[in-house]
């Protein structure tokens, strides 16, 4: 019966209701033997349909064949519980009347073994309010019911449907204690003092930085230390639009820099210039962090910045690409 008591706190942005239509306790409805059987089976955690005279299986069952109007047979058939989505809609902003309080889909679901479809909610996981439908939500998706623990005999005994398990996620975590080797240890020792160290190859005489203790070109051990300046030339670069822990702001530029006197390039960041103005052959200089922050890490150099010098012609760097 109608009541003129307004409930507290509707969040619709509309004025508070001053009239409420409510039937306290709800309507009592007889369900009859067909719907009654369906609900009784639901309460036991089973999904059943009823067979029509021509052999089709109706889910949810009805007392008559919707095509012919004939009585259905008395044969109830267990179906599903797995079923196939035949169509769906996506609710990005659930209303208070809806069964889930986060974005979800409504779906018509044809249980295996049935010829008609059941309407229910489909829970696809956690989404922010207003989210677009997830790409994996598709007609044809295979889903199964999530049963409510406390069932009373009603359509709500199925809390919702969920996708069949098609993938698992197996987290992996292994812990290591790494040592970089003698050459890297020595290189980082130099970094901690603000020096960039390399090795000169005894065969090709090019300077390898950071050094590895070997010349990758000649395959011979290297030991002769050379200190290089912190200036160099951009040989090639990339503009990155996906943030990185070391460069959280996008776009940022990662570049190969050929330090003056070096025989191979180093991968580093380039900053201090708009991304679209970085160019091959551009002269750059290391931007060091403040001395008190120096550690045994390459990170002592924040990035390289342009210096006011003419670009290096392509011919001079083309062998270092």
């Amino acid at each position: 019966m109608p009541s003129d008591t307004a409930p507290a706190g509707a969040d619709t942005g509309l004025p508070e209701p001053n009239h409420v239509l409510e039937f306290p306790g709800g309507y009592t409805r007889s369900v009859g033997p067909v719907i009654g059987r369906f609900f009784s089976e639901l309460r036991d955690g089973r999904l059943v349909g009823v067979r029509t005279a021509d052999g089709r299986v109706l889910v949810p069952p009805s007392e008559y064949d919707p095509l012919t109007g004939e009585d259905v047979t008395g044969e109830f058939v267990e179906v599903g519980p797995v079923g196939t989505v035949t169509t769906w809609s996506w609710v990005a902003r659930p209303a208070k009347e809806h069964p889930l309080d986060r974005p979800f889909a409504w779906a018509l679901i044809r249980p295996d073994g049935a010829d008609t479809a059941l309407l229910h909610a489909l829970d696809l996981g956690v989404f922010d309010e207003g989210a677009k439908p997830p790409k994996f939500l598709k007609t044809g998706m295979r889903v199964r019911p999530r049963w409510r623990a406390e069932r009373t005999g009603g359509i709500g005994d199925i809390e919702c449907f969920q996708p069949e398990v098609t993938m698992i996620n197996a987290p992996t975590r292994l812990e290591y204690r790494l040592k970089g080797g003698q050459a890297l240890r020595r290189f980082l020792e130099g970094m901690s003092e603000g020096r960039i160290l390399g090795h000169r190859c005894p065969v090709c005489e090019s300077v390898i930085v950071p050094m590895k203790g070997l010349c990758p070109r000649d395959g011979v051990p290297t030991t002769e230390e050379v200190e290089l300046p912190d200036t160099g030339t951009v040989t090639t670069f990339a503009v990155n639009n996906i943030p990185d822990p070391r460069a959280p702001e996008v776009p940022f530029v990662s570049a190969y820099v050929l330090l003056d006197g070096a025989g191979l390039t180093m991968l580093t960041l380039v900053a201090g210039i708009p991304a679209d103005q970085v160019r091959m052959g551009m002269r750059v200089k290391a931007a060091w962090r403040p001395r008190e922050e120096w550690e045994r890490t390459m990170g002592n150099i924040k990035w390289f910045e342009p210096v006011d010098e003419p670009d290096v012609p392509f011919e001079e760097i083309k062998d270092f690409m």
Binding site: T87, A95, H98
Partner: protein, 346 residues
């Protein structure tokens, strides 16, 4: 041969997208006054109305609306808890009996005063659907997806329906004047807000008359040459939602061919496309030149308005064979087709 019956007058409110502070009877009464003046009638052989008590949240709310028509001394009257297009059907049947010559039909709804989507949940199967709390737009979106996946139509095709309807609605003094559809946010995907008819308050009335009475009351009566309504199973999972078989059959039975103007009760953009297909309406049929329900959708009157708008094209001489369509229930469950003609049928 059915008795010749025509729509001789049609009146509607300037519909509103918000509560203007008028009670339902205050919305309705001026329309009844107007149609009495236009037909010169104070009394009608039969009166039939369509409304929904859940819109007002009170049982027998339609009874108080009878005050608007002057129900004393006692009149012959009936009511359908549906769109007034079905009240028109009842009045047409009553006129076929031959004992009366005129009938007044009206419908009204003030959807702005409650949560229409939740109200419409009350019309669903109380065992399997209503307890889930599924709302009308969510159900319509299921049908939209089924239609698009079957037909290959895209969201842009739906948007084009909204754009055309809204443009036409801006030229209709009775409709809401809505802007160009824009934005890519969904309401319930795949439907965008502009794919959904606006919440609208309003009312409408039609006068039907038979034979010579029709010619007396109207220079160009819009003769009902065919009228039929069909329903499909209640359970949406039993039907092929991508099609409307009930509209197809009703159209065939009503003789819906050679239609120049069709007013379709499409409350969602995809419904217009499904209905065009079901009714076999080609490019040469003008659909919803009034703007249709996507420009003004007063519940329980919008279907009657489709028949009235179609008839008005006959009354003003701009068309001679037109169609009015009304729907009811979730996902176009029930469909009524009324074919009207300006040629002499009596």
């Amino acid at each position: 041969m059915p008795r010749p019956v025509a729509v001789v007058a049609f009146a509607q409110t300037e519909h509103s997208g918000e509560d203007r502070g008028m009670a339902e009877i205050e919305i309705l009464a001026p329309v009844i006054t107007e149609i009495k003046e236009r037909t010169g009638q104070k009394q009608f052989g039969f009166t039939c109305s369509g409304s929904c008590d859940y819109l007002a949240g009170a049982p027998f709310a339609f009874v108080s609306a009878l005050d608007a028509i002057g129900a004393w001394p006692p009149i012959s009257e009936s009511h359908v808890e549906m769109d007034a297009a079905w009240a028109l059907y009842e009045a047409w049947v009553k006129l076929q009996h031959g004992d009366i010559d005129t009938a007044l039909v009206y419908g009204f709804g003030k959807s702005s005063q409650g949560n229409l989507r939740a109200v419409l949940t009350q019309q669903l199967d109380p065992y399997h659907l209503a307890p889930l709390g599924i709302d009308a737009v969510s159900l319509a979106a299921l049908q939209a997806r089924a239609y698009m996946e079957r037909s290959g139509a895209k969201e842009d095709d739906l948007r084009a329906v909204a754009a055309r309807s809204r443009e036409a609605g801006r030229g209709n003094p009775f409709a809401l004047h809505l802007p160009e559809p824009e934005g890519d946010d969904y309401d319930v995907a795949p439907l965008h807000p502009y794919d959904v008819a606006p919440v609208t308050d309003g009312a409408a009335a039609i006068v039907l008359a038979a034979g010579d009475r029709a010619r007396d009351m109207c220079e160009r009566p819009a003769w009902i040459t065919g009228i039929d309504h069909r329903t499909e199973p209640h359970a949406p999972g039993v039907r092929d939602l991508s099609r409307s078989d009930s509209a197809r059959v009703a159209g065939e039975r009503a003789g819906a061919t050679g239609i120049e103007v069709a007013e379709l009760h499409a409350q969602y953009t995809h419904e217009e496309l499904i209905l065009r297909e079901a009714l076999g309406l080609g490019e040469d049929t003008a659909v919803n030149p009034s703007g249709g329900p996507l420009s003004a959708n007063p519940m329980m009157a919008a279907g009657l308005i489709r028949i009235g708008e179609a008839a008005a094209r006959v009354h003003d001489g701009s068309a001679s064979r037109v169609l009015g369509h009304a729907s009811s229930g979730p996902c176009l469950q029930q469909n009524l087709v009324c074919v009207l003609s300006g040629e002499n049928h009596g």
